[in-house]
Symmetry: D2
Subunit: 424 residues, 4 copies
C-alpha cells in the first residue's frame, strides 16, 4: 500500500495552490448561483467500480506487452485496487470476473476489507474455453445449438451468482461473444430463442435483491452477427426476463456515429437502464481510458443521468471497462475514475431551469450554450479538494509515482514475457 | 401508355434467347431439385409498391436537376406508374404522399383502375411547411413543444387516413424529421413522451383493418438527435401503441456497418415487422437504386423474409423509396423493382433443409456456401419469363426507350428549370 | 449596425465579473508559468472568415425553414457580417460565393470598408445550374465528359479569380460535387484525368500571389463516388498543380472515425495544408456549429496548428462553413467564431516542452494528460477580455439580442416563405 | 497429400453435370459475344498467394479456439498449402511471415517444390516481441522514439529480404502496428519522419528486382492514431521511397463506407498499386473469408483491375489475408481463392466497349446495368472446368472432406488447447 507519509508530502506541495484555485472557483460559481461545497459533496458521493482484470496490462489480437509487477491473482489485483481507491477516492468497489478471480470468498472479503473495498457486479465468462471444461464455446455458449453446452454456460453463470452472493455482490453482468462470422452460419431467430431460454434459466436462480444486466455489443469477437448486438435486442431481453433484468451500456459497443446519450434516455424512460461500462473509443471497442478521446460525449451521458436523478427505481451500477495496453493500469484506472467523476460533476453544474426554458421555446443556441458552459467549467479544484478531504491525493499519478509502488510489487510479482495475441 | 405493339416487337427480338436461357436454367435447377415453374410462379406473385413521388427527379440539398417530362401532379404520376407496372409487372400498387398528391379520390381511383393499379400505404408529411399551414414544423411536428403544432400534425395524419380510406389503402406510414441539431436543444425524454402522445391520438383514429408503420432513421434532417432514431425506439413505439402498429425498415436509415437482416429477424420474432422501404446506400440515406451498391445485403434481407414465410401474422408491405437524381425515374423504378424481385427469387432458391443441417452442426463454411449458391444463380430468365407471361417486357428499359414515352410526355408536361436544394 | 451604446450598456453589466474571473485565471496561469496577457494577445490576433452565405438560414434536402430578416443580397450579408465581427471581434474577413454574391466590386469594397471587413478566399459554384447557363452540371462540371461543359466550368472559376482580384482576395477554393451515383456510371480514372486538365487550366490563370485550394469530401451530392473524395486525392491534385495549390480541410467531409488531426499533420509535413472549413458533425457533412458536437476534436486540430507555428511557408486560411437551420445565423456565426478561437487559445496553453518530454519517453498517460489539462482550462475570460478591449461584446449573443438588430432588418427585408429542399 | 484417386472419384460424380452447365453457359455467353474458352483460360492464369499463417486457426483478442491438426511449423503449413493448391488450382504461391516461418531455406524450397509451390512476398513482424529480442515494440518499431529499437526493426526487415532472396521471393510487405492510443502520446509528424528514415534504410537493402509494399490500416492494434493510417500516407511513403516502392491494399483496412475501388483507381493512375491482401469485412479488420460479406465490392475491385490490364508497369501481387476462427483453414482458403478468382472472371465478362459508351453519354442506368450483368453471370462452371482441366477438384471442399486429410494430420500433429487472446 501507499505509505500515508508519501501522500501527505505530495499533498503538501500542492495544497496552497489548490486552495487558491478552489476559492477562485467558489467565487465564480457563487456568481452563477452555485454552492461549491454542495458540488464537492456530490463529487465525494460518486463512485465507480474497478474491474479486477483492469489492473493487468491488456493487449490486442496481435500482441500483449506486459509491464512490470503484473498481478498474479485476485489478491494482487485487490491490492492494486486498494492503491487506486486510496489515492483517487472514487472507486470504492471491485467487479470480479469468474473464473479468473476464483478464490476463497472469505479470504477475498478479508483482503477487500483491508482496503476498504466492496464488491460490485459479478462478470461471467463464456467467451473463452477453460482447461477443465467439457464443452467448447467455439460456436457459442448460452445460444449454442448443443443443449449440453448451453447448460454448462448456464451453470457457470449460476456459479457466478453463488460466489457473488458470498461476497455481497448484488448483480450479474452477462456479456457473451455468441454470434456468427458468416451469413447463414446461424439461424438468427432460433439462436436468439436459445439465448432467451438460457437467460431465463439463469434468471430463475437470481436472488430477490439481485439484478441481471444484459450487455450488448455490435461486433467482436463475432464478425458478422452478434446475438445481443444493440440496445434494441438488449431491451427485449430485459423486458422478457422481468423486473430484475436491466440493460448495461458499454460506451464502446455501438455502431459508428450512434447517439449513445439518446439510448441512455430511452432506457431510463423504459425503466431498463442498469448501468455502464465506461471507457472511450475512436474506432471500435477500443477500450481506451475514459474521457481521453471524446470527453464531451462522456459529459452528455452524465447530463442524462443527472437530469434523471430521482427517477423512480433508477439505481445505476457504474464500472470502468478498459484495456490498458501502453500505460500502467493503476495510473489509467485512477485517471479514468477521475475523468468519469469530472463528467458527473460538470453535469451537476448545468442550469437545468434555464435549460428547460430554452428547450420549451426552441432556443437551440442558448440551450446548447447552457450545456457547454457547464462542460467548460474547470472543476479540477473540486475533484482535488474532494480527494484531499477524504484522505486521497491531490495529484494521484504524481503521488503514485513518488510512492514507488510499482517497483515494490515488481520485486515480488514475477516478470511476464510478451506474447502474441489471439491470431497465432 | 406504352403501345402494346412496341412491347410485342421488342419481346419478339429477345424471346428465343430467353427461352434458351430459361430452359437451360430449368435443367440446371432440376438437377438441384428445384422446379423452375414453381419459382416463376413465386416471381409472378411478388409485388412492391411504387412511391408516387419517385416518378419525379430527385435532388440533394445542393441542387436538383430536373429531367424532361416531369410529372405535374398525381395523375401524371399515376400514368408513369402505369408504364412501370405495365413493362416490369412487379409494382401493382402506388404509395401516396399527402399533401403532394391531394386530389379528388374518385378521379384517382379511376386513373388507377385505368392502369390496373391499387393503393398501398399512405405517407404523411410533417417535415415541410405548406403555404396554408398555421404552425411551422421548423422545430418539430408530432413531438413539438407547442401543443397546437402537435395537434396540427396529428390532424394531418388523420386526414391522410381518411384520404387513404377512400382509396382502399390499409396503412399509414409515419416518418418525421423531428429531432435536434444540438446537444441540449431538446429534452430527449420529454420529446419522446410528446411524440408518443401524438401517435396515440393518431392510432385512435386508425380503422380496425388498418396498420400504422413507425419508420426510424438515424439522422437527417436532424443532425444531432432524431426522435425515432433506430429500430429499438421504433419497436418501443409499436409495442406501446398496440397490435395495429408495426415497424417499417428503410434500408438506408441505419448507422454504418449495422446488420440490417438481423434487425429484420428480431422484428419478425416480436411480431412487429410491418414492411420495407427499399433502396440502396453506400454512405448515408443515399436513396440509390435497389441492389446497385450491395446486392448481397438485399438478398440477405429476403433470405430472412423467405425463411419466415408462414409465420403467424406476418403481412409485409413492400415499397420502393429512392431519389432518382441522375436517371430517368421510370427506368430506375422498373430496374429497382426487378432487383428487389430478383433478391426474392434468389432467396427462394436457398436449400433450407441443407442450411438448417449445417447450422445445427456449426458447419459455418457450408452454411455460408449454401446462401451464396442461391445468390449466384442467375435468375434473370425466370424474371424475364414471368414478365413476358404477364404481358410485360422481357427487357423493360429497352422497350421503354423504344416506346418514346418520355419524349411524348415531355411535349405536354412543361420543362422545369434546375434549382438549388435546401441550402440557399 | 449595433448601436455602440447597447454594447456599452451590456458590457457594463458584465465587466466586474469578467475582471474577477480574468484576474483569477491570470493568477492560476501564472502558477503554471503562463502569462495571461500574452495569451490574450494571441486571442486578439486570431481571425476566421465568415462565409457570406452563412448569414442566411440553411436547409436540408427535405426542407428549409427561413427566419426573419433573411439577407436579400451581398450587401445585406455584409451588414450581417459587420454585426458579427463588431460584437465577436474574431471574423475580420468575408468569403464570397459566386454567382450568389455577384455585384459591383467597388460597391462591395465600400460596404466592406464601412464594416472594417476584408475579403478572404473566393468560392466557385459548379454544383448547381444557373438560369443563364449553356451547359448543365447534372453529370459533372470540371470533370464532365463533355469538353464544352468543362470549359464553361473552367471559365466560371477564372471569373471568380477576376472578381476576387478586384476585391483583394488572394485565394480560390474549388469544391465540386462531381462524382457518380452508381458503380460504372463513370470511369473513375478518366474522370480524374479530365478534372486535372480543367484544374490546370484554372491554375494557369492564377495570379502569382494567389493560391488555389482543393477541397475534398467523401460523399454528397454524389452518393457512390466523388472525384475529390479524400485528402489522398486532394494531395495528388495539389502536388500535380504546383506550389500555389494546397489542400483545404473541411472538418465534416471525412469518413466515419477518421483521425482528422493526423491528416492535418501529414499535410503540414508535405507543405500542402492551405486552410480549413470549420464546422462540426456527428454523422455526415452535418455542417453544425463549430465546437458543439466534439469540442475536443476541434482542440486537437488546433493543437497541430499551434505546434506547427513557424513552419516554413505555413499560411493558413480559416473559414467557417456551416448550415444554420434552426438558429439565427448571426448568433451561430458569432458563437462558432468564439468556439474556434477558444480551441486556438486552449491549444496555446499546451506545455509543449513537457509534452515533448513525455512523448520521447513514451509516457502516454502524462502526454495525454498534458493535452487535457490545456483543454479543460476555462479560457472564456481571456476571450471575453479580448473582445472587450477591441470594442466588442463580453457576451455577443446577449448584446445582439438586446440590440434588436434582427427585428430591425426584418422590417426592411421581406419575409421568405418556407420551401421544400431538393427532393421535390 | 490428397490421394489422386479420391479426387478422380469425387470429380467423376460431378463431371456430367458440370459439362451440361458449362455447355449451357458457353451457349449463353456466345450469344453475348463472349468465348467461354478464352474466359476459362483467363481463369487458369489467375493465381493468389496463400499466407502461411492462414493455415492455422485464427483468433480474436478474446480467445482462440484451435482445431484439429494445427500445423506445427512451416513444413506442415506448406503441406496444407499443397493441398489447397492441389484441389483449388488457384494458389500457386505461399507468402511467408518471419520469424514465424524461419527455417532452413533449402528445406523450404524442397518442400515447396514437392507441392509445386513458389514463394510470394515476404512479411516482416515488428508488431510482437520475440523472446530473444533486445528491444520491445510496445511503443513502436520502425517509428519508435528510440534509435536502437528502430535499428532492430530495420535489421529484421533486412533479414526478411535476405531470407526471401534465397527462396525466390521478389517483394517485402511492411505492415506495422506503430501508432498511439492517446491524443498526445506521440508527435505525429516526428513519428512519421522516423518511420520514413527507417523505411529508407530498408529500401537501401532492396535488391534491384524486388519491390517493397507499404500497407496501410486505419486502426488496430493502435486505437487513436496509426502511422500508416490510410492510402494517402501510404502513397506519400511509396512516392518518397522510389520506384521499387508501392502500396498494398488490404480490403479490411479502411474507414467505414470508404470506396475502395476508387483508391485502387487512384493508385493505378499514380503507378503505385503493388497488390492486395484479400479478405472481407463487415465492421473493422474482420479478416473474414473473401467474398462472403459483400461479393459485389470484390467484383468492383476486380473491375478496376481488369480495366487497367495492359497499363504500363502494372504488376500486381495478390495475397489472401484472413483469420479463420470458426472454419477449417484449408477449406476457407480454398473457397476464398475461388471467390477471388470468381470476381476476376466476372469482371472479365464486362462489356467494356458498351460500358465506355454509356459512360461517355452519362447513361448512368445502363452503365450500372452493364456491370451488374457481368456480376450476376454464374461463372461457377468456368471455375470448376478450369480446376478439372488442371488436375484439381470440381468441388474442392467435398473432395477435401472425402479425403480425410484433416483427420490424418491430426494423428501426427499434437492437439493444441484453447487459449485466451491478448486481453488476459
Amino acid at each position: 500500500m501507499i505509505n500515508s507519509s508519501v501522500v501527505a508530502a505530495e499533498n503538501a506541495k500542492r495544497e496552497a495552490d489548490l486552495r487558491s484555485d478552489y476559492d477562485a472557483l467558489g467565487d465564480h460559481l457563487a456568481r452563477r448561483g452555485i454552492d461549491i461545497a454542495a458540488i464537492k459533496d456530490r463529487a465525494k458521493s460518486f463512485g465507480v467500480a474497478v474491474p479486477s482484470w483492469g489492473t493487468g496490462t491488456g493487449g490486442t489480437r496481435f500482441a500483449r506487452f506486459p509491464g512490470l509487477g503484473e498481478p498474479r491473482h485476485i489478491f494482487d489485483k485487490l491490492d492494486d485496487c486498494g492503491v487506486i481507491h486510496g489515492l483517487a477516492q472514487a472507486t470504492p468497489t471491485v467487479s470480479l470476473h469468474i473464473p479468473w478471480d476464483k478464490a476463497d470468498p472469505a479470504e477475498m472479503l478479508a483482503k477487500a476489507e483491508e482496503h476498504g473495498l466492496g464488491f460490485d457486479a459479478m462478470n461471467s465468462n463464456t467467451f473463452q474455453d477453460q482447461d477443465e471444461q467439457a464443452h467448447s464455446y467455439k460456436y457459442g455458449s448460452l445460444s449454442h445449438t448443443d443443449a449440453a453446452t448451453r447448460s454448462q454456460a448456464v451453470e457457470h453463470n449460476i456459479e457466478c451468482i453463488e460466489i457473488g452472493d458470498k461476497l455481497g455482490s448484488k448483480a450479474l453482468t452477462v456479456w457473451i461473444g455468441d454470434g456468427s462470422n458468416f451469413p447463414g452460419q446461424t439461424h438468427m431467430g432460433r439462436q436468439f430463442d436459445r439465448y432467451m431460454e438460457s437467460m431465463k434459466a439463469i434468471y430463475g436462480h437470481l436472488p430477490d435483491d439481485w439484478r441481471i444486466f444484459s450487455e450488448h455489443k455490435i461486433y467482436e469477437p463475432a464478425f458478422y452477427s452478434t446475438v445481443v448486438q444493440d440496445w434494441g435486442t438488449s431491451y427485449i431481453i430485459a423486458s422478457e426476463l422481468g423486473d430484475k433484468a436491466q440493460c448495461l451500456v458499454d460506451l464502446g459497443h455501438h455502431a459508428p456515429n450512434v447517439n449513445i446519450e439518446m439510448i441512455v434516455s430511452r432506457l431510463i424512460r423504459q425503466g431498463k437502464l442498469g448501468g455502464f461500462h465506461f471507457n472511450d473509443s475512436k474506432y471500435g471497442d477500443d477500450d481506451l481510458d475514459s474521457g481521453t478521446i471524446d470527453p464531451y460525449r462522456l459529459f452528455l451521458v452524465f447530463n442524462e443521468l443527472v437530469d434523471a436523478e430521482g427517477t423512480d427505481g433508477l439505481n445505476l451500477s457504474h464500472m470502468i471497462d478498459q484495456s490498458h495496453n501502453v500505460t500502467d493500469p493503476i495510473e489509467s484506472l485512477m485517471i479514468s475514475a477521475c475523468e468519469i467523476q469530472r463528467a458527473f460533476v460538470q453535469a451537476s453544474l448545468v442550469d437545468r431551469t434555464a435549460l428547460a426554458g430554452y428547450q420549451d421555446c426552441n432556443d437551440a443556441l442558448m440551450a446548447s450554450a447552457t450545456l457547454r458552459r457547464a462542460f467548460r467549467t474547470d472543476v479540477e479544484p473540486i475533484l482535488a479538494m474532494a480527494r484531499l478531504e477524504q484522505g486521497g491525493a491531490i495529484d494521484p499519478v504524481a503521488t503514485y509515482r513518488a510512492s514507488g509502488y510499482r517497483a515494490q510489487v515488481a520485486e515480488v510479482r514475477p516478470k511476464v514475457s510478451g506474447a502474441g495475441g489471439g491470431i497465432v
